[in-house]
Amino acid sequence: MDEAQSLVADAATRIFRDLGDPQTINGIDDGSWRAPLWQALEESGLTTAWVSDELGGAGAGMGAGFAVLRVAGEFAAAVPLAETLLGGWLLEQGSIVLPGGSLSVAPTKRGDVITLNTDGTLSGSARSVSFATEVDHLVVLAGDTVALVKRTDCAIQDGTNMAGEPLNHVNFTGVTPKQTAKLQNGVNGNALTMMGAATRSMQMAGALQTVLEISVQYAEERVAFGKPIAKFQAVQHNLARLGEEAAAAIAIASSMAYSVENMDTWTDPGLYLDIASAKIRVGEAAGEGGAIGHQAFGAIGFTQEHILHRFVQRLWSWRDDFDSEAVWAVELGRRVAARGGESLWHGLTAA
């Protein structure tokens, strides 16, 4: 992280700490904390880090955006920050000026296809669109076109992810976008899936770090059998495993962010390897790390009044977004198999 990225990360951390502290918001059932938090994020420009000044964004750059995402993961607050960053990035690829407000993107899975008809309407639907019922606009990739769509124009089914955040099936058929533009820079459906996977991977790395921190802290405080449970070797080794999984997640997510920041083309095999590996490996770490966190906290952590679920349930939901680790692994495995063993070594060392 360079100095500018650190500054952005610090700014994000301050806002989340003041207005989105997990312990505080966990006790507020009516969600009244969300509007002030979102407003502060918007006013600081953090929600538009990936959009250039000319198009109405903060122009902070890819690296800064990933730094924000890591902080967003560390706090795991139910606001569409990642979705708005990603939506802004996609609009930028068609040079569409930011409409303001919150965004989400579609499609989020390789299998879903949305098309732009000659009459200017869209056809098709998308599964698993995060926060679709809440955001102001949806940014839709339809073939070689990016379309800006008003949320209220779409048919959206109710639904939530494991953490209770909106996760919706959205039908775009018959919807006329507010604006459309041809995608530039070689961006297509694959690139969107890659950027979405990159976004979620970084959020998960951040959330894993928090699971590690609160688990370690708890183990030092919780006394059982006459001593802090951190003194038991079985607990130490479990938490060491959690630390290693968090380390792996942070390492590959950081590497992936670096690759995106310095990329030339979306077809670069090294970029693909970094993003696919991040989504797969961080997803695996999310599975194991979340489970170890729960084991460390025991019954206390398995309650709504404790904050652990805020992180674990998001980890376990996010790993499904923009294709799960299994889907990514099959695709990566097919690519590797098609080229043979020696090519894999050349690919790994060239990445």
């Binding site: 630390g243 380390a247 990566l332 098609a338 063993g341 894999l344």
Partner: protein, 383 residues
């Protein structure tokens, strides 16, 4: 570490990638000449090590006054990983290059350095590491082999056990007891020495692996006399000296590539059109391997920057050795439904069997899983 886990995204610099091209060309040439057969040799290959030495690829980071080139640790990283991938016979010079040489540079007398380092660099001498004893494996501080200071030198008595390659090594870096441990510091009292294996009073006895391989040995010391200046660093203070060595020893590619041949061969065995199960298995293995390599290079970058990433290196070794240990079993499962012979069935099955039998040692040598997790737990503030 609990506050901020840092594995910075390090990329190998252009000079390291340029060196990779040279190393690959060299390996191709030597293969064509028949100097070695990939992954086949269980024996040291003096000719190969000598040729590597001629290229200047042993001790490449070491000071020029001893014949080194003062090139970067990241360049060494590339040489190491290319040799490992190619299955090159590096056994003769590997230990000396990785850790014994750096220990000598840091702690040996000038006489020793002038005598031994140039010969390591030429690929002429090999080292073993004398740490474990019958009653001292993971718990190194229980070592009891004695070094007694006399007017003529250090008198060594006792035995080391499970010492890899002692029977072919020219030298050992040994850990011997020079004083009893103290009440408040049980780590006190051990010292590191460089030992010429031809010293009278030293004998080795093979201790075979379950598959009959001769790697381990018992090394017996009966009144073996070492020159006084063979002591490395300060007497009784070995516990303080070992730390940076461990970061080098624990974070390299050999901590996840030891069974790597299985993966590359598996890919060719499964062929171009894997089913979903095979493809998913391959994809996960590749993602895990790529992540390990990124982490390992990140640690190499920290070493290059002069840091002592002992904790991070322990993370890499635990994740890496557990991964390389599981790899042959996963490959066995993934290959179970390949019913045709893509041309390498015999070869694949032989490689698989060999690696399944060596797998258990991978999480023991150089720091067991349990020891490493203890170090990570300490890094997290739990101990």
């Amino acid at each position: 570490m609990s506050v901020a886990i840092q594995f910075d995204p390090i990329r190998l610099p252009p000079e390291a990638e340029a060196l990779r091209v040279e190393v690959r060309a060299f390996l191709k040439e030597e293969l064509a000449l028949g100097t070695f057969e990939p992954h086949a040799s269980r024996r040291p290959n003096p000719e190969f090590s000598r040729k590597v030495g001629e290229r200047g690829w042993i001790g490449i980071t070491w000071p020029k006054e001893y014949g080194g080139q003062e090139r970067s640790f990241l360049e060494r990283y590339v040489i190491n990983e290319e040799f490992l991938f190619a299955g090159a016979p590096i056994r003769k010079h590997f230990t000396a290059d990785r850790q014994s040489g750096p220990v000598l540079i840091k702690y040996a007398s000038d006489r020793i350095k002038q005598d031994i380092l140039p010969r390591i660099i030429k690929g002429e001498v090999s080292f073993c590491i004398g740490m474990s004893e019958p009653n001292s494996g993971s718990d190194l501080f229980a070592a009891s082999t004695k070094a007694e200071r006399t007017d003529d030198g250090w008198l060594i008595n006792g035995a080391k056990l499970w010492t890899s390659l002692a029977h072919e090594a020219d030298y050992m870096i040994g850990l011997f007891r020079t004083s009893p441990s103290t009440k408040d510091n049980r780590r006190h009292g051990l010292s590191q020495f460089v030992v010429d294996m031809k010293t009278p009073g030293i004998s080795t006895r093979p201790v075979l692996h379950p598959n009959g391989n001769h790697e381990f040995n018992e090394v017996i010391f009966e009144n073996a006399l070492l020159p006084l200046d063979n002591l490395l660093g300060e007497a009784d203070m070995a516990w303080k000296q070992a730390t940076s060595e461990l970061a080098y020893e624990r974070s390299g590619s050999e901590r996840f590539l030891e069974t790597g041949q299985v993966l590359f061969e598996l890919i060719d065995f499964i062929g171009e059109n894997p089913d979903n199960r095979e493809a998913e298995g391959l994809g996960r293995l590749v993602a895990q391997l790529h992540t390990l390599r990124r982490m390992s290079i990140s640690v190499a970058g920290m070493l290059h920057a002069g840091k002592e990433p002992v904790l991070e290196a322990s993370v890499v070794k635990d994740l890496g050795t557990v991964w390389e240990q599981a790899l042959p079993s996963i490959a066995r499962d993934l290959s179970a439904f390949v019913d045709k012979d893509p041309g390498n069935r015999m070869r694949f099955e032989e490689i698989l069997a060999r690696n399944i039998t060596i797998a258990p040692k991978l999480t023991i040598q150089g720091g067991t899983t349990e020891v490493l997790r203890g170090i990570v737990a300490r890094g997290l503030g739990l101990r």
